[in-house]
Symmetry: C2
């Protein structure tokens, strides 16, 4: 692969001049510039970013740590992150951490070794100290990591409230919430809190079913079927849309009609759900805004590691009404 020296020789100028052209500094005549550009094109030259970064330039690399990308929500989020960062001249190293703390730890070390400019973290199997000693700009999605790491999330609390209100407005009396296992330090727990608060105000009770995030859809489906067979509930809030799809599936099989016998509302409202399951009422997280905010904050931290940021940024959710709560 061609180096800066090769270009210099071919263009008949000094290496310094080539570097000046690349970095556009010092005074240069049009003639040399074109000569150098021609040589660069001729040899299909790309400045070695390893060498540039080593010499102090930024790597223009951002690490993205998320549970995974096969889930439509994180898929869309990664796509949006990639899209926005690309326009700003950054590339991303994708780190699917799953539920695996060791993997997340390994990735953190790798990102340090690769001298990424910053990290967006949304998978949180690690405890706080491990994130604190990374010493890189970090922004967190939906999870409390440390004093100095800002959290961006949707308004989970209000989302929970909206869900409860919608089900009640649709006439449900016996409510059920199906949620992932309660995690420490996660603002997503507020979906439950907001939901509960609305019901408490009306002195209403509700049932709670926790299914670990890591459960397979089959297992989840089975637990849901068990639930539906009791036939005591007439309104369900699932704290993610995919689980809501499973409820629809099981209800269909059991001959339970939605919305006649059972009202249903989900959470996330990805493009995927809106396009392919517009029938589902859901709480839409503003993915674009969330990403815009995370990137804005991250770039500020990268520019100035001392800059003061809020500890939490909460973005509004939106109720998308489908036919499952009519």
């Amino acid at each position: 692969m061609a180096t800066l020296d090769d270009i210099a020789k071919m263009a008949g100028v000094s290496p310094t001049t080539v570097s000046r052209v690349i970095n556009n500094y010092g005074s240069l005549s049009e003639k040399t510039k074109t000569k150098v550009f021609a040589a660069m094109k001729e040899l299909n030259y790309q400045p070695n970013s390893l060498a540039r970064s080593l010499k102090g330039k930024k790597t223009q690399l951002i690490g993205i740590i998320l549970p995974g990308v096969s889930n439509p929500f994180f898929g869309q989020m990664v796509q949006e992150i990639e899209d926005q960062l690309f326009k700003k001249g950054f590339r991303i190293i994708l780190c699917n951490a799953g539920n695996d703390a060791n993997k997340e730890r390994a990735y953190l070390r790798m990102l340090m070794a690769n001298r990424v400019d910053g990290i967006i973290a949304g998978a949180h199997n690690l405890n706080i100290e491990e994130y604190q000693k990374v010493g890189l700009p970090i922004i967190s999605f939906d999870r409390y990591l440390s004093e100095t790491i800002p959290i961006v999330s949707s308004d989970n609390y209000h989302g929970g409230q909206l869900a409860a209100q919608s089900l009640l407005a649709a006439g449900s009396k016996n409510l059920q919430i199906i949620t992932g296992a309660n995690r420490p330090n996660s603002p997503t727990n507020n979906r439950l809190v907001g939901f509960k608060e609305v019901l408490d105000q009306q002195s209403l009770d509700f049932k709670l079913l926790e299914i670990p995030f890591s459960s397979s859809p089959n297992i989840k489906g089975l637990k849901i079927r068990e639930l539906l067979l009791k036939k005591t509930i007439d309104g369900i809030f699932c704290t993610d849309d995919l689980t809501a799809l499973l409820v629809m599936q099981q209800a269909r099989e059991l001959g339970i009609r939605i919305p006649e016998d059972l009202k249903l509302i989900g959470y996330d409202g990805t493009d995927f759900i809106q396009n392919y399951h517009p029938e589902l009422t859901t709480i839409k997280q503003p993915i674009v805004d969330i990403v815009t905010m995370m990137i804005d904050l991250l770039l500020r931290r990268i520019d100035d590691s001392e800059c003061e940021l809020e500890s939490t940024y909460t973005l509004p959710v939106k109720l998308i009404t489908g036919v499952t709560t009519i």
Copy 2:
């Protein structure tokens, strides 16, 4: 961030010795090793991969160029690629090229600049020459790129055959295929070829609807509705599952019953579809095998850039029977 010299000082040894510990070469006593490891731990040291790579070591980075990751098929594929590569000590730079040739071109340059060890390419907006002059190990998914770049794909031809056979076996007489716009150099066109071949053998005719990949689901839905309103067809093969979902949606709205009035079969068979839409009959691409094969080939090329590889690797598809073709 701590450097090798810092470690040397702290451990009271020479920089060379530290490097010897890191790279495990030369002869070393247990005592020094533990001293050095202790210092590395103490300072949370990570060897600067930029410097290492500059000195000739591999970057352990692989570029993944795909249309995008919000589509469940590519989402699952990326997840699988990431998973397998992580276990082999590689990280991935994710490049969503969409339908944008300029973006793909820019990414190709960036990957060269970053000195990635290799590339897996599955988005193909560029012509062959641009890929040829990259000069890095490349493996292609489902697209012809150049003489020297191996293609891995599922058996699209047989998939098309299976689809036709299933619809016929289910009793359909008036068949329709809905596919993305025909692309040059794409083995996926063989889905249509295989489909056609089965019908030709039985002297049967069929209708063809092409909808560009880039169309929004709403547009696609509209075109499908138009099609269904004619009510002349009783069997549809969609060359991707998401389009099949749209058919189901429109059919439901129009009161067309599946499978009573209309048989339906899709293509891809992602985990997502199998978990959340098991009712849909589909042709399953062996994503895991495809990825395993691509990575195997890529690593061989990385190890030995001269190694001889086949130009095409075709992996078998599988019919997943749901209730839409009963």
